[in-house]
């Protein structure tokens, strides 16, 4: 009698795409609002973006239960940080915390694909991109999730980031203005929605700048 195998998986992919673009004094973070499982749509109005700190937003796609658990954990750690240091965590600090939190579960990972976006300690836009187990790097722009394979090459083409290997080190942030970056994000998602079945319904765009945080929405195809 062979040992019984489990016929359930602890993971599921609830789909969706996330993008973040860093500018000289702003950061745009965007994600679609569709939540799916298999070939079904569970809901069309689900936000994948969360505020971790005053100038630090995170967009995550993947397995929603893990994403939510991760967000809760980081929010709790941020609260403790505020109690201990009487200040908000900076974006680079939160970036390191996220990496460590992900690696902590290296052998039963959070199936969560994240992009962190915000302003660094000098007020310049910053974007950090992650894999599921915490390896990360600061970049000028990034995309994660089911549509990332469609979105990333397009961003590479439009934002032409200089190689990080160049010396002297060149700025990765885009010279585009805030409104140009938002338009680019809208274009990118409209395109990804055409070909990725898990991306669509609605686009949520969050812009972080010196004035604060503002949100914008755009309808996407619902098929």
């Amino acid at each position: 009698m062979t040992k019984q195998q489990a016929n359930w998986s602890p993971y599921d992919n609830n789909g969706g795409s996330c993008v973040a673009i860093a500018g000289a004094d702003y950061c745009v973070i965007a994600a679609d609002t569709r939540m799916s499982t298999g070939y079904n749509i569970l809901t069309r109005e689900y936000s994948k973006i969360t505020k971790l700190a005053d100038k630090c937003m995170m967009a995550s796609s993947g397995f929603q239960a893990d994403v939510k658990a991760l967000q809760k954990l980081l929010a709790a750690r941020h609260l403790i940080y505020q109690h201990q240091h009487n200040k908000q965590m900076s974006c680079p600090a939160m970036a390191q915390l996220l990496s460590n939190t992900l690696y902590y579960k290296r052998f039963f990972p959070y199936y969560s694909f994240n992009v962190l976006g915000g302003l660094d300690s000098e007020g310049k836009g910053c974007v950090y991109t992650y894999d599921a187990v915490g390896s990360y790097e600061r970049v000028g722009y990034s995309s994660q999730g089911s549509g990332s394979t469609l979105i990333m090459p397009f961003l590479d083409n439009q934002l032409k980031s200089p190689s990080p290997l160049l010396l002297p080190a060149q700025d990765a942030v885009t010279p585009l203005s805030e409104s140009e970056a938002v338009d680019l994000v809208k274009t990118v998602f409209a395109s990804a929605t055409e070909r990725d079945i898990y991306t669509g319904d609605k686009l949520e765009i969050v812009v972080v700048n010196a004035e604060g945080i503002r949100s914008e929405y755009m309808d996407l195809r619902k098929d």
């Binding site: 040992k3 195998q5 489990a6 749509i41 569970l42 929603q64 239960a65």
Partner: protein
């Protein structure tokens, strides 16, 4: 090369014999929607043991505290276990005796944590839960799956309901449905499920939760129509068939 499934190789011992592998007695879809005064939820009363219809009077919807209604599909013994956890939760909430009581949002959050934590230990509660309620005029309707995936929406369904009922609800649901329209819409969904879901039974309850409280209807059955001419003479037009 055979890939070992997730649960093997992590802890192959007697402890494994305690972990849930598959469900035994199951309930099928639960469908729910928000309407003008609160939430309407429907579930049939069948408890299947594989392909046998073993239990025909199972109440798969229960009120939780003052403000919430829980419906469950999947393993029924796990539903009973969850009710037992919630009983304790509500008891402690009442013991505070502070005039505040847990609303549907809080109960949903609690259930999400319970389901996710069981999934983390590779011993899931094999249920899909629908949690609806009204507190201080605010309507709430959410769902939790057996691995902790959760969300809120204006209408939700579990199991087959996702495939058959959700499309109908997407087309016909709108804000401020009257009670009669809400019931009609739910019955439409349940009728489709009855025709097309093998494990559905024609004995259902509809529950309503409003600011005033929970009412679960008496069991009743839906009118069905089988008199299609194609059924009475299925081989008409098929030459050579009988």
């Amino acid at each position: 090369m055979d890939q070992k499934p997730f649960s093997q190789g992590l802890l192959s011992s007697e402890a494994d014999s305690q972990r849930t592998l598959y469900p035994y007695v199951t309930g099928t879809s639960v469908v729910a929607l928000k309407y003008k005064d609160g939430i309407l939820m429907a579930a049939d009363m069948g408890g299947s043991y594989g392909s046998t219809l073993r239990y025909k009077s199972v109440e798969r919807m229960k009120s939780i505290g003052k403000h919430s209604l829980l419906g469950a599909s999947g393993e029924l013994s796990d539903f009973q276990e969850i009710l037992s956890y919630l009983d304790e939760l509500i008891l402690y909430d009442n013991m505070w005796d502070d005039g505040n009581s847990l609303g549907p949002k809080e109960v949903h959050s609690y259930l999400t944590r319970v389901m996710y934590n069981r999934r983390n230990k590779f011993n899931p509660l094999w249920s899909s839960l629908v949690l609806g309620g009204v507190k201080n005029g605010e309507k709430y309707l959410g769902m939790v799956s057996m691995i902790g995936v959760h969300f809120e929406d204006n209408h939700v369904a579990t199991g087959f309901g996702n495939h058959l009922a959700r499309p109908i609800l997407r087309e016909e649901w709108h804000e401020n449905l009257s009670f009669e329209d809400g019931v009609k819409l739910l019955e439409k969904c349940m009728r489709v499920l009855l025709y097309r879901d093998r494990s559905a039974v024609n004995k259902l309850q509809i529950a309503k939760i409003t600011e005033e409280g929970v009412t679960v209807s008496q069991p009743y059955s839906l009118k069905t129509f089988w008199g299609f001419s194609a059924f009475s003479n299925p081989t008409v037009g098929a030459e050579g068939s009988w």
